[in-house]
C-alpha cells in the first residue's frame, strides 16, 4: 500500500538550505562531496523506478510476442492518428528473451500492402548510431485484438521529447530554455544521426520535434524510426527509381532539419518570430553567424546533402565535442566514486562481521597480545579519532580515505597505539588488509 505514495527524495540526503551553503575552501569538504550529487542520483533512481514500474490491473494483453508486463507510456490523453494515419500507442515491456525493458510502438489496425514491407526493418535493426534509438524488431500482432504493427525499440526511462523538454511539459516541470550552446549541441547530434542513417541509404522521414527524445542530460536521440518505411512501403521496379526516391527523401530530411532547427532557434530569441519570411527571421535570431549560415544552407539550398553540411559546421562541432567528452568524464568520475563506495560497504560489512563478535570475547587471538588485536586497534584508529582535548573527531573524509587505502592495500605504514598508550605497532595497510582477509576467511569456513 505504501507504494502508492510518491517517494520523498528530499529526505534521502538533504542538502543544506541555500543560505547555509558557504563556499568551501580547497581543503574543506562536506558530506555531499563524497557521494553522488542528489540531482543525478534522483534522476537515475527515477529511471530505475520507471523501468521497474508495472501495472497491477490492466486490460492490456499479458504477452505480445515475447514481451510482457506492458505499461502504457503515452502521456497524452487522446490518441491521435495524425502522424501515421493510424492511431498509435506506446508501451514499455520486458522481453522474455533477456529480461530487459523495451519500448513497443503499436500502430493500430494496420493494413500492410505487402508482407515484405515489414522486412524493411532489418536495415534499421542493423543500424548503430548513438543518436538514434536502437530498433530491435518489428512484427504484427493480434494480441490486442486487432491487427497491430509493433515496432520494438530500446527503452530510455523518463525520456522526454523536445516539445516536452523545451516548450510545454506534461509533467509540470518548467521547460528548459534553449541556449546557443544547446542549439549547436543538438545540431551536432542530429547531423550525426542523419549522416549515419543516410550513409546506409536510410532516410529518417520522421524528423519532428516530437520524435526526438532527450534521454539524459544534453543527449538526444531520434525515436520511432523505421515506421514509415513499413507503412509507406513501395516496391520499386528498378534501382534507379528507388535511388531517386531515397534521394528525394534525404533532401526532405535536411529541409526538415532546417525547419526544426529554425523553430528551436526562434524559441530561443522570441523577437525573431515577428517576421514572416525565413530570411528575415534568420537574420533577427540572436545567434552566431555560423549557425545562421548553416540554417540558410538547409533552407535555401536546392539540393542539400549531409556531407556538405558537416563541413559547414565542422568548427563549431569541435566545441560541442569538448562538452560531450566532459560529460563522459563526469559520468566516469561519478561511477568511479560509487564503485569505490560499493567496495567500502563490503569492506565495512566484513570488518563488522569479524569485529566484536561475542563468541570471540575469550578468544586469545583477539586479546591484547593476540594476532587479531591489530584489527580492533585499526577500527579505533579509523573511527575513534580525537582532538588534543580528547573530543571525538567525526571526520568522514578521513574515514573514507583510510578505508580506501585499506581497500587498495597500499604499503603506507601507520601507527596503531595500544589502549594504555605505552606501546604502538607499525603496520601497513597491506598487512592490515591481509589480516582482515584472513580473519574473514576463517570466519566463513
Amino acid at each position: 500500500p505504501q507504494t502508492s505514495y510518491p517517494l520523498n527524495h528530499h529526505l534521502y540526503a538533504p542538502a543544506p538550505p541555500p543560505h547555509l551553503q558557504i563556499p568551501l575552501k580547497g581543503n574543506e569538504e562536506n558530506s555531499s562531496k563524497f557521494f553522488l550529487p542528489n540531482e543525478l542520483r534522483e534522476s537515475l533512481i527515477k529511471k530505475n523506478e520507471s523501468t521497474l514500474k508495472t501495472l497491477q490491473h490492466s486490460n492490456l494483453p499479458e504477452l505480445v510476442n515475447i514481451y510482457y508486463n506492458l505499461v502504457p507510456l503515452d502521456n497524452s490523453l487522446q490518441k491521435s492518428n495524425q502522424t501515421y494515419g493510424y492511431y498509435s500507442s506506446l508501451y514499455k515491456a520486458f522481453s522474455n528473451d533477456d529480461g530487459k525493458a523495451y519500448v513497443l510502438r503499436r500502430i493500430e489496425n494496420v493494413k500492410l500492402n505487402q508482407d515484405k514491407s515489414i522486412s524493411t526493418i532489418k536495415k534499421w535493426v542493423k543500424l548503430n548510431c548513438s543518436n538514434i534509438t536502437k530498433i530491435i524488431d518489428a512484427f504484427t500482432s493480434r494480441s490486442f485484438g486487432d491487427n497491430s504493427l509493433i515496432i520494438v525499440y530500446d527503452y530510455y526511462p523518463n525520456s522526454k521529447n523536445l516539445i516536452e523538454q523545451h516548450f510545454h511539459s506534461n509533467l509540470g516541470a518548467k521547460p528548459e530554455q534553449i541556449t546557443p550552446k544547446i542549439l549547436w549541441n543538438y545540431t551536432l547530434q542530429l547531423t550525426n544521426a542523419i549522416a549515419t542513417s543516410h550513409s546506409k541509404n536510410l532516410p529518417i522521414r520522421s524528423l519532428t520535434l516530437t520524435k526526438i527524445i532527450v534521454t539524459s542530460l544534453n543527449r538526444i536521440r531520434l525515436s520511432d524510426c523505421g515506421i514509415f518505411d513499413i507503412l509507406d512501403f513501395e516496391d520499386f521496379s528498378n534501382e534507379d527509381e528507388e535511388l531517386e526516391t531515397i534521394n528525394l527523401l534525404k533532401i526532405q530530411d535536411l529541409q526538415k532539419l532546417g525547419q526544426l532547427l529554425l523553430s528551436l532557434a526562434i524559441s530561443s530569441s522570441p523577437n525573431s518570430s515577428k517576421f514572416s519570411n525565413n530570411e528575415d527571421i534568420i537574420s533577427n535570431i540572436d545567434i552566431d553567424e555560423d549557425f545562421k549560415s548553416a540554417l540558410k544552407y538547409l533552407l535555401n539550398e536546392s539540393n542539400p546533402n549531409i556531407e556538405s553540411f558537416q563541413k559547414i559546421i565542422s568548427k563549431k562541432l569541435f566545441e560541442s565535442l569538448n562538452q560531450i567528452q566532459e560529460q563522459g568524464d563526469y559520468y566516469e568520475s561519478q561511477l568511479t566514486r560509487e564503485l569505490e563506495n560499493g567496495r567500502l560497504v563490503r569492506l565495512l560489512t566484513k570488518l563488522n562481521f569479524i569485529l566484536e563478535r561475542p563468541e570471540y570475547q575469550s578468544n586469545p587471538t583477539w586479546a591484547q597480545s593476540g594476532e587479531r588485536y591489530p584489527i580492533k586497534l585499526f577500527r579505533e584508529y579509523v573511527f575513534n579519532q580525537v582532538d588534543d582535548r580528547g573530543k571525538p573527531v567525526l571526520d568522514l573524509a578521513f574515514v573514507l580515505k583510510t578505508l580506501n587505502k585499506l581497500d587498495a592495500g597500499i604499503d603506507e605504514k601507520f601507527l596503531l597505539v595500544s589502549h594504555d598508550e605505552q606501546t604502538c605497532m607499525i603496520v601497513s595497510y597491506k598487512e592490515m588488509r591481509d589480516l582482515i582477509e584472513r580473519s574473514f576467511r576463517e570466519l566463513s569456513n
Partner: protein, 754 residues
Amino acid sequence: HSSMSSKIPLEYPTMPETNTTPISIDDDVPLNTIGMPYYKETLLSAWPAQTVFRSAGTLPKTIDSSILQNAQNIDGLLIAPYDKEKYGRRNLAKKYVSVKNNNESNKFKSFKASNIPTSHKSPKEQENLFEIKESDAPDKPPPAFKKLEILYSKFGVGDFDFDSYNSTHFTGLEVHVDNAYTNSLLQLYRFVPEIFNFVLGNLAIENLEPNSILRELGYLYDMMVKSFGHHFRPTNFQQALLSLDDAIKSGLVDKDNDSTTTIAADVGTKIKVFNRVLLDNLVKDEMKQAVPQSRFLKSHMVFGIEIETRIRSMFTGAMSTDINIVNSLDLLPPHTNTQKLATRHALDPSILAFIESSTNIVEQRSILNEVSGQLEAVEINHAVRRLPPVVSFNLHLKYDDLKAIRGIKNWLRPKFYAAHNKGRISIYDDVKNSLIADSCDEYGLVGYVAEVSGESDKDKHLVTFVKIHNDFEKKTEWYLFNDFLVTPIPESEALNLSYWWKKPVTLIYRNSKEPGRFDYAAWSRGLNDQILYRDHFAAGTREGKRIEYEMLTKEEAPQPGTLIAIDAEFVTLEEEQFELKSNGTRSMLKPSKQTLARVSVLRGDDGPQMGVPFIDDYVVVQEGIHDYLTSFSGIEPGDLDPATSDKSLVNREVVYRKLWLLINLGCVFVGHGLNNDFRTINISVPKAQVRDTAVFFYKGQRILSLRFLAYILLDKKVQAGNHDSIEDAHTALLLYKEYLKLKQSGNFETILDN
C-alpha cells in the same frame, strides 16, 4: 528497557518476510538489489549537511626515526614504545595546516619599519620568541627552542631582524653556515673561562698554519666578544673544520646544503664526536707551536683526563697497566659501566651516579693472549686518576634511560664533589662531613648542550644552556643559546629535563675553587705583530709580482685612533638560491656564498703618505670558484691561484691576522658600505672604530653608491671599468674627509638634501 515492564501490553516482533536469498559478501550483486522501505522522515544515513571536514591535504604523520629505532619484531609485528608526551594521545587527529600561509614578513626590519603598530595583532598570532615554557601543543617545543631559520627579503640578509632574537650582550651564532650544528658546543666552550683564556691567549703567537682549529677558535671568540650582543657567522672557523682530516674521517663535516634531514636525525651523536675532535685538535695545534722542551701542554692542564687502564687475567691474575690522557669522558648509565652493582653508597638516581660509575668502568672480556695464542678471560678496569679543572662529558642515553630521567626530579645536578681515593674517584652530592670536605674538589655545572626534537626528524637541533657570571651586576644567571637566539632562562628551567623534546648531550663541569675570570685581553700578552711589517706570500718573492703597496714601517706602527681606509673584493663560491612562483614572486632562500679575494688598506691620516696603500693582498682561493664577478671585483681568473698569479697573493690566515691586528691595535676603519665587507671577511669591528661613508651619506631609504657620491661631491669619475679596491678605498677616504669638512662648516645637511 521499558518493553520489559509487565504493565504494558506485550508487543510482538513483526513477522519476517520469507523470501530471503542470501548474498555472499563478494558476490557481484548491485547493492540496490535490496530495496528500501517507504520512508517519511529523513534517513538515518543522511549526514548533517552543514558539517565541514577539513582534513583534505593534511600532511601525513611521519613515523619518525626514534620509533623505528626502538621497534622490535614480535611475532611478525613491529612493536615500539609509544611516547605519549611527544606524539599526543592515541588516535589523535592531525590538524590541517596550510603550508602556504606562512607569513614570515614580520621578521624583516623593512616590514617593521612600515608596520609600526603591531600590537593590534592578537597575542596568539604574535608568537613570543622567548617563550620557554611548554605550550599546549603537544608535538611542538616552545618557541625559544624551535629550530630557527634566517629569512631573506629582497633587501638581503641585512633586513633580517636578528636583534629581535637577542636582547643580551652575548653574541648569537648564525645558521646557514656549514656544520651549523657545532654552534651549540662553540657557545658552550666560549663560557668556560679556562678554555676561553687559553684559546684567546694563544692568539698572541703568530700562527700561520693552515686550518689551525686553535687559532680559528681564538679569532671566533674574540670576534664574538667584539660583536657584543649581536650576531656572528663562524664561517672562517667552519672553513678550517671543513678541511680538517679528522673531521672528514669522523663524518662530521657537512656542507650547508639541502639534505638537512639526514644530518638533523643524528645531530646528537655528531656533536659528541665533534666535541672529541675539537678538543683533540686544540691539543694537537698547541703541540705544533709549543716550545719542544716544555713538558706540559696548557690544554692538558685545562681539560686532560688521565685514565689508568688495568687488564687483569681472570685465570692467572697477571696484570698490565697503561695510562693515557683523553680530553672528554663518555658518561654511560651505571648498569652498563659495571656488572657489579651497588658498589659503595647508594647515590640518588642522578647524573652523579653516571659520573661516578663512568670514572671507574669494569668490564669482563675475552681477549687474545699474544703469547699463548689463546683466548683469555680478563677483567678490564678503566679508572680516572685525576679530574682536570674542566671536565667535558659526553652523555650517552638510550630511549629507556631518557624516559627514566624525565621522571626524576633534579637528575641534572648543578654541582658535585669529587674526592680522589686510592686511585679512584668518589662523587658526593653534598659534603656534610667536614672531614672529606677538605679532600674534595667542588665541581659546578657550566652548562650543557641539549638536543631538541620536534615533530619530525628534520626539526631536530641543538641548543646550549650556560651559567654565566655577570661581572657588572655581580650575579650568576643561566642563558639559553639557540643559534642566534639568546635569552636568560631561570635555573629551574635550564635544569629541567622532564620535557620529551629535551635530551642532554654534552655537559661541562668545572672546578669551582678558582673564581674563573674571562681575560678578554689575553691575546695582548706578548703580542706578535710582525706580520704587519713584512711580506708573507703564498708562493715566491716580490720578484715578478705587481706590487701596488708600500710596506708599513715600524715608525708608522698603528696606534689607537690611527685612520686607515679599507676596501675588499670578493668572488662567489656558490650562487644564490631562490624560488620563483608563477605569479612572478621571487623568494630568496640563501644568498650567494662569497669569499674574500682581495683587501686593500690605505694610510688614512693626513700627511704626505695619506692614501698610500700598505696592504694590498690577494687571497688564495683553493675551492671551486663559481663566479669571479670580474666587473665588480676586478679579479681575473688565475689571480687567486699561486701557480699563475702575478699578484701579491697570500693565504687567508695572513691577511686575516693583519686585519685582526689592526682592529686590536685600535685603528679606525674608513670605507664605503663596510658591513658587507666585514661580514664576508668574517671580522667584527667595534662601532667606535668604524667610519662608513655609506652610513654618513645615507638618504631616505637609499644607500648612495660610491660612484655617485664621488661624481657629485668630488667631481671624480670612478669605477669606469672594473672595480679596484685601492681606488675605491681611496675614494671612500676622500669622501670621509669631505664629510668632515662639510660637517665642520655646517653645510652637510644642505649638501645631502641636494
